[in-house]
């Protein structure tokens, strides 16, 4: 039974009608006639939302002839840029909307999490909301009663469980909501980027919980932009582009395909490549982050070095050029800043002649605390406005799964750096 197909999608398409631009009226008479006619026009427009007589220019295909299969126990990631049709696909799979053509057959109980905390009512207490949210997601009251203690425990909001949810912080709400979802126990779990919420520690807890689900022989369908989460969780992936499936394969193949498909937007990959701009005298061409094995990544182990490589171009020289790279944590605090002038002699950007160059440097291992960071990059011209500036050019994540520290509950987890500090012991008063 292990290789049984549980989801089969065949020739799936979905058509939407998008609103066209409003007309403008340039005379009072035209405005008045338009005002009188507007109820009829609005009626036609509202009616057209659900009917498709003729293919106007406002008809939009969110999905075009998508087919794939998922075997039991698979964890499949759906990857694609914004507007590629990922959410539409999940909505059809979770039966929220009907496909225009095509068919899906599903074997087993499905639970879909397209949003955390659907149906939460702020006037009800945490406990009441667990019932509300749980039944909305398809659990019975009996099941919820059985799992109530576990759900409350996992959420970590025991103290406030009988307080109305409107008194909760947004973080607490999310914890409670995810906790309900995590205890759904379906055979097939459909998840849409719900992990983009909560603090870092809780996100890890969620991924951990989902990994448990995946290991338990459950089938998972996961949409996310978080490549680190995808590679931790999924084995297979499909890539969508403008409603069409353009690739299907292992996660690393698909992530590579995604990188190549989107030259403009790869802050999720630890890799950025920009087309040269003729107007700039001094500019970035490429920035990439690699680990020791030379893999381009955006997530690194705490014990790994990060090799940064920065390709740039000078078309007009100036002694005032320099490059600044700043790493910020999620609270916008600068963790460190480094420039090409700090320890370089003779080859800082200000000394170079026209041409293309690459700087390489290493961010030491065991420095950054496990968390998420953003890289800002500035191409500067001293005494003049900045030539090029990139805020949050790349997002990186430091994971700590290889040290003893990472396996323990820490007393504090909001520290910015985590250098290797080794305590030694000397017995001063032997008995």
């Amino acid at each position: 039974m292990e290789n049984e197909t549980v989801i089969k999608v065949e020739g799936l398409s979905k058509r939407y009608r998008i609103g066209l631009k409003e007309e403008m009226h340039d005379s009072l008479a035209a405005s008045i006639t338009a005002f009188i006619k507007s109820p009829f026009k609005s009626f036609r427009k509202l009616k057209n939302l659900s009917s498709f007589d003729g293919e106007g220019e406002d008809v939009f295909w969110a999905l075009k002839n998508v087919s794939f299969e998922i075997k039991k126990g698979d964890a499949l990631a759906i990857v694609g840029m914004n507007g590629a049709g990922k959410s539409t696909l999940l909505k059809i799979l979770s039966r929220i909307t009907e496909p225009t053509t095509g068919e899906i057959s599903i074997k087993g109980r499905v639970a879909s999490l397209l949003e955390v905390g659907t149906g939460f009512h702020s006037d009800l207490t945490g406990r009441e909301n667990i019932f509300l949210n749980g039944t909305i997601l398809g659990m019975t009251r009996k099941e919820i009663n059985q799992k109530m203690d576990e759900i409350i425990e996992f959420s970590g909001v025991q103290k406030f469980i009988d307080t109305p949810v409107k008194r909760y912080s947004s973080g607490m709400r999310v914890r409670l909501a995810f906790s309900v979802a995590a205890h759904l126990d379906p055979e097939i779990l459909i998840i849409d980027e719900v992990l983009a919420v909560g603090d870092y520690e809780f996100q890890n807890k969620c991924i951990g919980k989902m990994q448990d689900v995946a290991k338990g022989g459950k089938t998972i369908l996961f949409v996310s932009h978080n490549m680190a989460a995808i590679s931790q969780l999924c084995s297979r992936a499909i890539l969508l582009k403008q409603g069409e499936k353009i690739a299907d394969g292992t996660v690393s193949e698909i992530i590579d395909a995604y990188k190549n498909a989107n030259i403009q937007h790869q802050s999720d990959f630890g890799f950025v490549k920009l087309p040269p701009n003729e107007d700039l005298p001094f500019q970035l061409l490429e920035l990439s982050l690699k680990n020791k094995q030379n893999e381009v990544l955006n997530h690194f182990e705490h014990t790994e070095e990060i090799n940064v490589s920065l390709r740039f171009k000078i078309t007009k020289t100036s002694p005032n050029y320099y490059i600044n790279l700043t790493l910020r944590n999620q609270n916008e605090v600068a963790v460190f800043t480094t420039t090409d002038e700090d320890y370089t002699e003779g080859y800082a950007a200000g000394n170079l002649t026209e041409g293309e160059y690459t700087y390489n440097f290493t961010i030491p291992a065991k420095l950054l605390a496990p968390s998420k960071y953003n890289i800002d990059l500035f191409f500067c011209n001293r005494f003049y406005p900045i030539v090029q500036q990139f805020k949050s050019l790349l997002n990186i994540e430091i994971i700590d799964s290889k040290t003893l520290r990472g396996k323990k509950q820490l007393y504090r987890n909001d520290a910015i750096v985590a250098p290797e500090i080794i305590w030694t012991l000397a017995t001063t008063n032997p008995k």
């Binding site: 659900s50 929220i96 496909p99 053509t101 068919e103 009441e128 039944t135 909305i136 009251r141």
Partner: protein, 302 residues
């Protein structure tokens, strides 16, 4: 394990046995949503459930003042106090209008569910229909006290009789009618938000169209006036026939027979009740089909 097929539904597949089984499966959701609706309405309110009583009571006081002192309404039986005559009708009508208003906007106010989770959508308009029964029950208790008071202090005004056994049937017709019309309205309202405005007018119109402030016996007079005004013979009869299909008429007159009795309300108005039931059932069945045919686009137009 049976396969679930997802594809575009055809119109003849609107309501199958499968759908019914699914509806049963989600009964716990229905229960929690009803509980939520009942709780939430009066949360953080000083009077709380008292509002369920105050609303129809205040209306009754206003109507009694208006129609006994300012514009005197000719009653069939002067021994029946206007207050009781009016309140007996206002209790079921208040249920109808509050259930209809809440149910019409239910899909819109629960939009977040519709676009994020799957469950049988029929549950959503059904929730206010059931939840408002709590208010109805409270108002019925107050009505009971009022009847008891008049029974004690004004002998002869109230004649409770065996027809009271038909009360549950009348309440059922009331519920079916409210749900039937709400199915139509809620499914339309999610695409055409105008329905939210229309429903307020409609409830007000029905308040005067139903025999709430005026006794049903006046209908003959009204229909004859209409015939005179139009000038075509038979209009009065046709109007009365059409009117008999208005379910609130049968329910309200039935309530009066059950709870007031006496000379003016001695026998159940069966023709009104039967025609009203036919209309209610028709609205319910057509409503379910209309709702189901629109269901697939809710998430797209919401």
């Amino acid at each position: 394990m049976n396969d679930l097929k997802i594809k575009k539904r055809h119109s003849w597949q609107l309501f199958s046995k499968q759908d019914f089984i699914e509806l049963i499966k989600f009964r716990d959701l229905l229960y929690t949503l009803i509980k939520r609706d009942v709780y939430v309405v009066y949360k953080q309110s000083v009077v709380g459930f008292g509002w369920a009583v105050i609303k129809p009571l205040v209306q009754m006081v206003i109507f009694t003042f208006l129609f006994t002192y300012i514009a005197k309404v000719q009653m069939d039986d002067d021994s029946v106090p206007y207050m009781i005559f009016n309140f007996v009708a206002l209790v079921p009508f208040t249920y109808f209008s509050s259930a209809l208003t809440a149910s019409t906007s239910s899909l819109i106010s629960n939009e977040s569910f519709i676009t994020k989770v799957y469950f049988p959508r029929l549950i959503i308009p059904l929730v206010p229909i059931i939840a408002k029964l709590v208010d109805f029950g409270i108002a019925m208790i107050v009505l009971g006290f009022m009847i008891f008071y008049y029974y004690q202090t004004q002998p002869g005004s109230i004649n409770i009789n065996e027809n009271i056994l038909f009360l549950p049937l009348l309440i059922l017709i009331l519920i079916v009618f409210s749900f039937g019309i709400s199915l139509w309205f809620s499914a339309l309202a999610i695409q055409y938000r105008d329905l939210n405005q229309i429903v307020t007018f409609l409830a007000q119109f029905m308040m005067y169209a139903a025999p709430i402030v005026w006794p049903f016996s006046r209908l003959k007079e009204i229909s004859q006036n209409i015939e005179l005004w139009i000038g075509i013979e038979g209009t009065a009869k046709a109007f009365e026939k059409i009117y008999s299909f208005f379910p609130l008429a049968g329910v309200i007159e039935g309530f009066r027979v059950c709870l007031i009795g006496g000379a003016a309300y001695s026998s159940m108005p069966w023709d009104l009740i039967i025609n009203g039931s036919i209309m209610s059932l028709f609205l319910l069945i057509s409503g379910v089909y209309f709702f189901r045919s629109k269901e697939s686009i809710f998430a797209d137009v919401a």
